[in-house]
């Protein structure tokens, strides 16, 4: 008798029983990892940490992980998020410790929480960014920032996958403030709050805008770090997307 088409043997994969949301940081040299680099590292770390992942069915089972709004390659971040589904319950604190241990240094777990209702991606409405300049003084940066804020519309062009695209930067800028950096090698810091629009306005688009309106052209690109992302509060600040209603009170800027 001719063999039939093979299907995976055995029962269907175990269903997911727990959904966790995880905040992680991308620090130091690992800011140069891309989204795909992180995904590869995470899947291996989950195996090393023996996290009981839920898998999709079929000959190519994939761990059930969803990623949301990752920072671009080259930017550091203290506030990146993903969600995982487990086939057995795990204590979030223990998983936090094990997963952090299994990830390479520079990809660090910050918070592990049980997932609340709603889609994670919908909670990520805006980000706070910090840009540290090594060769720009505070006064120059402050003047440039003022010109940025004084403009109603600043169009920049960025090369996207489907070719160059021109869009307005100014609308996304909710807040911009120049000040001193923490210390050498950096001399000045720009704090930015950017609303997540389509297309996404990134800190490097703001840098293009600053070059345009104020001729700010640092010889060394600034170190860009996302410090926070989450829902936009009514007062215009960014909230913690993993905080429950009761935690919310404790969050300060």
């Amino acid at each position: 008798m001719p063999p039939r088409q093979r299907v995976p043997e055995g029962p269907a994969p175990d269903p997911a029983v727990q959904k966790l949301r995880i905040q992680y940081a991308k620090r130091g040299r690992l800011r140069f990892s891309s989204t795909r680099d992180f995904q590869r590292a995470l899947e291996r770390a989950l195996r090393r940490a023996a996290v009981p992942m839920a898998f999709s069915a079929g000959f190519h089972p994939h761990p059930r992980i969803s990623y949301a709004n990752a920072a671009p390659t080259g930017t550091a971040s203290e506030a990146e998020y993903f969600e995982i589904q487990l086939r057995e319950h795990r204590d979030p604190a223990a998983l936090h410790r094990d997963l952090d241990e299994a990830l390479p240094e520079g990809l660090d777990v910050v918070v592990v929480r049980e997932a609340a209702a709603g889609a994670l991606a919908d909670l990520l409405e805006a980000s706070d960014w910090v840009l540290d300049f090594a060769d720009v003084d505070v006064a120059t940066l402050g003047a440039a920032t003022d010109r940025l804020l004084a403009s109603d519309r600043i169009e920049v062009t960025r090369m996207m996958k489907r070719g160059p695209r021109t869009f307005d930067v100014r609308e996304a800028v909710l807040h911009a403030q120049a000040g001193p950096a923490d210390g050498p090698p950096y001399s000045a810091r720009l704090g930015l709050r950017l609303r997540h629009l389509t297309p996404a306005v990134r800190p490097d688009d703001v840098l293009s805008a600053l070059a345009d309106v104020a001729d700010l052209r640092p010889t060394r690109p600034p170190l860009v770090t996302r410090s926070r992302q989450g829902p936009l509060r009514e007062d215009g600040t960014v909230a913690d997307p993993l905080a429950s209603a009761t935690d919310e009170v404790a969050v300060t800027d």
């Binding site: 093979r6 040299r29 590869r40 590292a41 291996r44 195996r47 090393r48």
Partner: protein, 651 residues
């Protein structure tokens, strides 16, 4: 300050270049040690021995390399030594580094390569030679060994290509042939002792000490004389050297279980060419395929025990989190306990989403059983077999003993077990080959599809024919033969393609993949070249030649143009090195590097090839006196041990 990180200066470059992750290091299980980890002696002399290890290709190709990973780990385990890794930078990064005047750096601690004591390069292929020159130049190390100063690193070549280091003799200070793990430790001992003594005699004395061990080849200590017709007359230790041996021996690690490396395999963040962990299940091969340099130069066979393999797989998976384990060797199904290994591992990892693979298997039904065992619950996509030669006649010439009926039986078993794609690997340009030998590949592929359709009752099965051009290599019975020129190679492949495509009954069921013959000719020049080829390599590099293993970077025109100019007054040319058949008593450029193989035996085997006489595997049949075992005072090390893999206990 030597050993200081240049990362701050690299950062702006990393913002501009493609795939910056390949330059930042920080891989899981990577190591950064204190530059002075070896400490100082009473007189304040620093005693650390520092190695920069390079795989001279892109990071994505180099980072999974087992050889570099092993040496990196054994060196870093020593308290008085440190090892860091460096890879070839892509042209965009090279341009940015030149503009910013930054040195070739290690990815681990971003230290300039020129600050290390040894710059060790692992050459799996000769096509990395131009990349070595880029790295030397970026590192600020003089290209020519003769121009180097006291503070420059010792430039040391290893890997399979180092079995003929003559084409790069001008650029390297030394070469080591054979297994590296004990050799690098012995060299480290010599450097440590020399440093402790206050570096007596400087760089030359250190190289002399290494050369006198008999296991390190220092090209500068050997003179080469040529005959009027261009052939080599003699290679001999230079008059001003004392105690330098006439021949340099290869290194052989006998007990693989004593060297369970890599223990902590590197896990890159970047995508690499091998997204899996590898465990070497044995080293060496005695199948005796006459084209196979790896099989000849890695003799004798040394098996890792079944329990040693089980332990390495377990620890490696725990250390890495890889989803797949490859059981590496030159002919994996030949391990004396392979069935128990396959079953034991399949049992252990059933239901854990861990894939097991067995590359390099031979063509017989036993392999189908093994492959089935390793994919018990999983997908069965493709199986690869390497008959290497299209006709039975040519398979006798190359000593690849598989009959057409064996092959058909094997693929029938594969399709019957649910495998849907069979890939067949062949070579074109083998000695004595005619169009007819290659055209039989088409008939074979058609029979494979016929049989596959019959046993599977399906139309969507496929057979892919993959063909590489044969390049004769040193230390093989084919080291004397004439390489087929690119025009004839391409013409033969075009006929084969036509023979496959013209038969509409098969349509898309048979795929054919091949490379044109031009890169093979350059590889041939570099493989069997002598010291005069060095000037061609340098000319090509100065003309912009980089990444010769990559078709988008390789330029045949450039190689031929530079070779013509460089060989201008020598009386030799590319054809002389490649398509010329050598005679029995010609001095070959690599004769003074001892792979253990007896040259008379190689010649006799070459004559057997021409007579289409086959030779058995000495693991199962009596010795054929290839020379390795008595020469190296070694022996084949095979099981069975009779042990089994026990289930893993759940912690």
């Amino acid at each position: 300050m030597p050993g200081a990180s240049i990362f701050y200066d690299l950062e702006p470059l990393l913002e501009q270049v493609s795939k910056p992750i390949q330059y930042v290091g920080g891989e899981l299980n990577s190591t950064v040690k204190d530059w002075q980890c070896g400490g100082y002696d009473a007189d304040g002399r620093e005693l650390t021995v520092r190695w920069a290890l390079m795989y001279p290709d892109a990071y994505e190709v180099g980072v999974p390399n087992q050889g570099v990973m092993i040496l990196y780990e054994v060196l870093n385990e020593r308290a008085d030594a440190l090892a860091e890794r460096t890879y070839s930078v892509w042209p965009d990064m090279e341009a940015a580094m030149r503009a910013a005047e930054l040195s070739q750096f290690t990815v681990d601690a971003h230290r300039p390569v020129g600050d290390f004591d040894v710059f060790g390069l692992s050459f799996s292929t000769e096509l990395g030679y131009t990349n070595m020159l880029t790295a030397l130049d970026l590192a600020g190390i003089p290209l020519h060994a003769a121009d180097r100063g006291e503070d420059d690193p010792i430039v040391l070549a290893g890997g399979h290509a180092a079995f003929n280091p003559e084409p790069v003799a001008d650029f390297i200070d030394a070469a080591v042939v054979g297994d590296g793990e004990e050799a690098v430790l012995a060299i480290t001992d010599h450097i440590a002792a020399w440093k402790r003594q206050g570096r007596p005699g400087g760089r030359r004395e250190l190289l002399l000490r290494l050369a006198r061990t008999g296991g390190v080849y220092v090209p500068a200590f050997y003179d080469v004389d040529y005959l009027p017709d261009g052939r080599i007359q003699r290679v001999a230790p230079a008059a001003d050297t004392v105690g330098v041996p006439w021949r340099v021996s290869k290194h052989t690690v006998m007990d693989l279980d004593a060297w369970p490396y890599p223990k902590q395999p590197l896990v890159p963040l970047a995508e690499s060419v091998h997204e899996r962990m590898s465990v070497e299940i044995f080293r060496g091969c005695t199948r005796g395929c006459r084209f196979c340099q790896a099989g000849m130069i890695t003799r004798p066979v040394r098996e890792r025990s079944i329990t040693g393999i089980g332990e390495m797989v377990k620890k490696g998976l725990e250390a890495t989190g890889f989803e797949e384990v490859g059981l590496l060797s030159l002919s994996s199904a030949d391990h004396s306990e392979i069935a128990d290994i396959a079953k034991g591992l399949a049992d252990r990892y059933e239901g854990t989403q861990t894939g097991l693979s067995l590359p390099s298997t031979r063509v017989d039904a036993f392999n189908i059983d093994l492959a089935n065992e390793l994919t018990r619950g999983g997908r069965r996509s493709g199986l690869t077999f390497a008959p290497e030669g299209g006709s039975e006649r040519i398979r006798k010439v190359i000593n690849k003993m598989v009959s057409e009926d064996d092959l058909i039986k094997t693929v029938a078993a594969a399709y019957g077990a649910g495998w849907r794609q069979v890939k067949l690997y062949f070579m074109c340009g083998l000695p004595t080959e005619t169009d007819e030998d290659v055209l039989q590949i088409a008939d074979l592929a058609k029979r494979v599809i016929d049989v596959g359709r019959e046993v599977s009752s399906r139309r969507d099965i496929r057979c892919t024919v993959s063909i590489g051009g044969f390049v004769p290599k040193p230390h093989t019975p084919f080291q004397w033969c004439a390489q087929l020129d690119p025009e004839q190679t391409d013409a033969r492949l075009a006929k084969l393609r036509e023979a496959i495509r013209s038969d509409k009954r098969y349509g898309a069921a048979i795929g054919i993949r091949y490379h044109d013959g031009e890169p093979g000719l350059v590889e041939g020049l570099l493989s069997r070249g002598d010291r005069r080829v060095g000037r061609v390599i340098e000319a090509v590099w100065r003309d912009g030649g980089r990444f010769d293993g990559w078709s988008e970077h390789f330029s045949y025109e450039r190689w031929m143009r530079c070779a013509e100019a460089a060989f201008d007054d020598t009386g030799v040319d590319v054809a002389w090195y490649t398509t010329r058949e050598r005679t029995e008593h010609e001095v070959l450029p690599w004769d003074h590097l001892d792979s253990g193989l007896d040259k008379d035996w190689l010649w006799a085997d070459w004559q057997d090839a021409l007579d289409e006489t086959e030779v058995d595997d000495c693991r199962w049949t009596p010795c054929f006196d290839c020379g390795v075992c008595p020469q190296m005072n070694t022996d084949i090390q095979v099981g069975p041990t009779g042990k089994k893999l026990l289930p893993l206990t759940v912690v």
